[in-house]
Amino acid sequence: MKADPKSESSSMAAEDAQSQAERLSAWLDGELDEAAAGPLVRQLLSTEPLQRKYRSWCLVGDALRSQEVAAKHSPELCGRIYRALQDEPALLAPRALGPRVRYQLASGVAVAAAMVVLVVVAVPLLRSTGAPAGLVAEKAAVPTAVRSELATREAGSLGAVAAEETPTERIPRLDPYLQAHRDFTAEGVMPAAAIYLRSGSESDR
């Protein structure tokens, strides 16, 4: 004897509805996993019978926990609120950033700011005080014997080193110029900053 396909499909549908309602009950208790919850919420919002179950179970929960709360049930109030909602525009808000995302964003901005400070302040400072790259490479290529000789000479007194330096020919007519620009020589504490200090003081005038 063959089973009636009509009654078979209707019993399957009833079974599905029962299983769906059971999952809704579990979701209401926060006992449904995330993967199953998403589709169920979509079904809830588009299926009137499921919504009725949801509403009545919320009422059952209130009634079990507090009779006074359940006694405040007002279908009229719900109807009023639903009608008032119809006049409200649908929200299309951008998703609010979670705290973790905000922290990550803030730390990213902080790192970027630090890099900018490094580029704007520190790099010109290092460039003006440090030896040229070519010279450094040249020094590294010097043989060990010569390097030790250089080290011995560097260890000598300042006066001796000064005496060994080739004297620069002094041109008297350049004296006022050099005097006026002495802030830009590498001997200053912050030679690269001098230009900014000067600009700042000049703008105050």
Partner: protein, 199 residues
Amino acid sequence: MSERDADLQLVRRVQHGDKRAFEMLVAKYQRRISRLLSRMIRDPADIEDVAQEAFIKAYRALPNFRGESAFYTWLYRIAINTAKNHFAAQARRAPTVAAGDVEDQEIGEESLRLSDSATPDSLYQSKQVGLAVNRAIEQLPEDLRTAIVLRELEGLSYDEIAAAMNCPVGTVRSRIFRAREAIAQELRPLLGTREDERW
């Protein structure tokens, strides 16, 4: 996932333009908000007005809700502030319970005590609800009754209930579902809710 996450899922749907999701939140919290407001406002008509205003304010403010607190905690604050604004606008005498006093209390059973503002009607209604709930609970088979009580009154998780009742979690899920259906059936005539009604 927790109960709070379930609310948050509805909130996210509202934030993406689904008003029906907000109706689900109204259905869930309307009674608790009305109960809260009834402790501050005497006139039942005013309670409904303020409750409606609070829900609409919450709806408008929902884009700013980030889920850092539970939805109900957030809604509760809005309801308290709406009630305060109501007092200021009406310039009435102090409410039965000062707004600040209610605000300072923990949200829970303590804050749901019956206040002096309860009318004879509401007292009668709550008594009837109590009787109906007790009747429904008594009619339930023992296993369903234990499962629903452990869940709704004791707040146990399904795992904890399964351990207490020495049965699989799936059985707990099924028992709670069936208990809910049975109690809802019992409460329907009393609270004027029909199965085919949208409330």
